[in-house]
Amino acid sequence: MPIIQFAPFSSLINPTFWHTLTQLKIDVLKLSSDSVPITGSYTYGKTVVDRESGKEIALGSNLGLSGESFDAAHTASPHSVTVKGTLKNFNTIEEFKSSDKAALFNALADELWSSDFPEDGNKFLVLTFADLKKYKYYYWCAFPAFVVKPSWEIGEGGWESVGSGGSFGEEDLRTIASREEPNAPFFLVRRNAGGKIETTPLIASAYPGFFTDVPEKDRYVAFIDPSSLPQNPGWPLRNLLTYLVRHSAPYTSTAASPAATSPKPPSFKIISWRDTDVPSEDGGKGWKSLLGRVYLPAAPDLGKTSTEVEKVVRWNAIGWERDGKGKMSPRLADLGGMMDPRRLADQAVDLNLKLMRWRILPALDLERVSRTKCLLLGAGTLGCYVARVLMGWGIRKITLLDSSRVSFSNPVRQPLFEFEDCLEGGKPKAECAAERLTKIFPGVDAQGITLSIPMPGHPIPANEAIVNKTKADVAKLEALIEEHDVVFLLMDSRESRWLPTLIGAAKNKLVLNAALGFDTYLVMRHGGHTPSISTSTSSSEEAAGEKKKLGCYFCNDIVAPADSLSDRTLDQMCTVTRPGLASIAAASAVELMVSTIQHPLGIEAPAPPVEIATGKQSSLDSGDTSHESVLGIVPHQIRGFLAQWRNMIIKGDAYSRCTGCSDIVINEYRSKGFEMLLRAFNESKYLEELTGLDRLYEEGEKALGDVDWIEEEGSGEDF
């Protein structure tokens, strides 16, 4: 008949177990690795029905450990068995690894062997090491069970339901279910002379006395079974059987050496008790408990007997728990998620954003936003506010670039800086801002780079060293733009925006531009340059309705960017603005970026139609929402006028002669690289000549000259 395969225990640990152990170590144990008595518990095996497949799934045969395991006074919950155990906590991982586990295990096994109490058969051992800095807990549980040869087998018919086998009637089962001490792990059941079922908990000396004068067919030994598998009884049965064998004649320790006689191999009727309540179904079908005949096919091999004392040397024991992969190895519980403050912060920020999606806007793609890498050119008023709002959206990679140092007027308007940062000449703005971002939220990857962006109209001195430095700076800027997804132009001059505009257009990166006047601002996104969408330059194509590309900051210029910084008055140099303006513009720039990213076409998102932009029509009326993202319309440009508390939504087409983003300049840049840029920086007419802007003036003058102005006398009432 088949060999019984017992279902081993699996540890099921509650987080409170680790919390209590931590407290215990800090307050009591400190560096001691003395054994600590603890308790564990197990309950009746359960199954659940898988909602998708409809199949019954057996839940593990669990030994539960929790914070209450350390509380000697804790009482067991109903329908659960409390078991005693020992915990040994090591102070270092090396001690944990090198500890003599065999010795510890054997010591426990010896204790079990020599105990007269059957419930001691459930005793267990837990070895731990708590890494309190990393919130990691290494542990290894052992549930010793004695091994016997030959192995236990199950009788014909296997395990059958107690309700259907014919051994028990409904009343019998109810008697068992309502026994006193329902939490005793093992109990004996007999049918008395009058045919009634009687039970008693299996405690020392109850066996075999309880069965005196009871015929063998009416004797049953029962145990609360943590396993719910139909053919595999739980681990506690192994040591129960060992106990029964050792206390049954002729195997009792006081008997003469078994080899002297030919005893009958042990056989028991075992009830695997799995019912917490009387089941509701009638006819005996609802009972989950099982009955089976468990026996050894031959007399057990009791090993060597000591010649001095007729006492049997104990059997071998096994029972270390396997790890998650089935290997004979300890386990690791990582509690960083609930204890490491950085991970808690990360999780809280994440939750906050997810709630936005769950509560209000399920279609919001937060992942897309948070993995956008942002490069901020300028770490001043605009830069600081932009960085803050980006972090609010959960963006993790923020790089700031600036060429100056924190000065005394900065901290009040630039929220990433403090008074201390201004001292001793002032910290470099970019690095200082990045550091401050990390202090606000450690989960952000913030970098600061001090770099000066070369500009047209500011010639590079003909010194070789300086030219090389400029070339390196340009290369660095190109690399930075390449590495990021979005570039914010937040500088304090017009011409410094030229180079990143060109590079951004050449690399088709989303460029957000924000500029401040005294009480007006501009926030815009540069048009995309996705290769599959070509620019149309002739007006006839425009009339045919082909989609035009959106322009950049320089598209409306009729002159190239020039030196606007020299010879300015103080207020022009310091870009004096109304203080509230920067945060409005910066926040708008970030929200425009997010809205653009949410649009399915991204950088190529169209500007809203004029009627909608000017508020004459709502998009619900027009029925066409293809220009909208889930967050609403995606303007090209927003111009704000604080004095009138008004915004204007504007669209500007790309200009074929633009010095910043036209195909002419992009192609020249791509083919000539730094050489072309150097000319742009040094030669004031270069860009105008390249794009043909210089001829525009001439053409304009010529066109004006061609018109025949009709000059009439008189009142001109005819028209």
């Binding site: 060999i3 395969q5 987080p15 065999a102 595999n232 519980a333 709630l355």
Partner: protein, 154 residues
């Protein structure tokens, strides 16, 4: 990490081998509590989820459990109370310590509970329910509000 003595694990034919035991899905234990909020004077739903090694589940794992109906319930979906669609949004999921046990939990902030339950009672047409019967009905409505956010498997 070896040498644990008499561990001829390969040789023990009486132990159910790990692959069979392991084929059961990963076990996650979810403790659910109903706690009375003295401030808002309504029941509040708290829960915590942990794995068999005692580590708690983070937000992403909890989403993966599909315990929370966050994704499947856009605001305009009709429910079994067909009179009006559920107007209440997904409740404000927060983190905090269990008021009595002190253990870290997730909970739904109770500030909107009263309103949400009242909406349902209004939909049903609140009759003259008084006393215990009234309270039981209130709790019934509370559970249905809760089940719009959490898969209670009841």
């Amino acid at each position: 990490m070896d040498d644990v003595g008499q561990q001829e694990d390969g040789g023990d034919e009486s132990a159910l081998s790990p692959p069979t035991v392991k084929s059961q899905a990963r076990t996650v234990t979810i403790d659910q509590f109903i706690v009375y909020s003295a401030t808002f004077q309504v029941p509040t739903f708290y829960f915590s989820a942990h794995q068999s090694d005692g580590s708690t589940l983070g937000l992403r794992d909890i989403e993966a459990l599909r315990l929370l109906n966050a994704h499947s319930r856009p605001n305009s979906e009709m429910n079994s109370y067909a009179i009006t669609p559920i107007a209440s949004p997904f409740p404000l999921l927060s983190q905090g310590d269990h008021p009595t046990l002190g253990t870290p939990c997730w909970y739904f902030h109770p500030c909107e509970t009263s309103t949400a339950v009242q909406e349902i009672l209004n939909d049903i047409g609140e009759m003259d329910w008084v006393g215990e019967d009234g309270l039981a009905r209130w709790m019934g409505a509370w559970f249905s509000v809760l089940s719009s956010a959490v898969d209670l498997r009841m």
